[in-house]
Symmetry: C2
Subunit: 143 residues, 2 copies
């Protein structure tokens, strides 16, 4: 009733950058894993809402990118958040296909460590940060 | 022994954008909550490694930003990841101070919903995505 309404932002209310894009943080909805960061324009966001699957804008290919359309590793979108400034979006997804978000074959794109950074001495609960397990692919197959 | 070494990336090996920045996704290390997204240049990353607390580059103020230096809401950094392309960084932090990352007083900056997006029907485990609880601040105090 008097419960505060969610603070909703329409796509056209987002603060796109000069290239018409916003960064999209992509998180597995139930484990909290940060899978990747990609970019979206208004059209990609609208398509995401229509499809219920993650759609991005590929800056390298300069085209809309329905993730998994060729690999099968689609991402079912169960929620979309915007940040306080409305210039960053968060997709809450269920990573489908082989459960792999990264083009290297890794679960998450964030499988590298910044040199000199402290090391987590324990795994967080919830597998929010997957351990640096040996990758299923060899360096050759990363190309 | 023959265990594959972590794939380490030095700061100077990151793929900074034309402005000399990388986006930094900031995640509470133990719950998986995505707290915010900010930006860092090489100097901010180096300072983060030295301090063990999150340092960013404020694009609006065009200066280095040691988060919490004035508010007290510092972020102890327990890990720093880079993504496959080395053009995005992930800070794993322990959000200190009042436990608040967002300048609005919210725990996470991602407290808004994109209009038309599906709604999570349950809370994920691990509080990875905090429920849209009524904010402690009124709209007036957001200015």
């Amino acid at each position: 009733m008097d419960e505060p309404a969610d603070d909703e932002v329409p796509v056209e209310g987002l603060a796109f950058d000069a290239a018409g894009l916003v960064p999209v943080v992509v998180q597995q909805h139930d484990t909290g894993e940060v899978l990747m960061l990609a970019w979206a324009d208004a059209a990609a966001l609208q398509r995401t809402l229509e499809l219920g699957e993650a759609v991005y804008y590929s800056r390298s290919r300069a085209e809309q990118w329905h993730k998994g359309a060729t690999s099968g590793n689609t991402q079912r979108v169960v929620g979309v958040r915007a940040d306080c400034d409305a210039d960053v979006v968060l997709y809450l997804v269920d990573q489908g296909g082989d459960g792999v978000a990264c083009h290297t074959g890794a679960r998450s794109c964030f499988h590298r460590t910044l040199q000199g950074a402290p090391r987590l001495t324990r795994s967080p609960p919830s597998a929010a940060v997957p351990a640096l397990t040996p990758e299923p692919t060899s360096p050759e197959s990363h190309s």
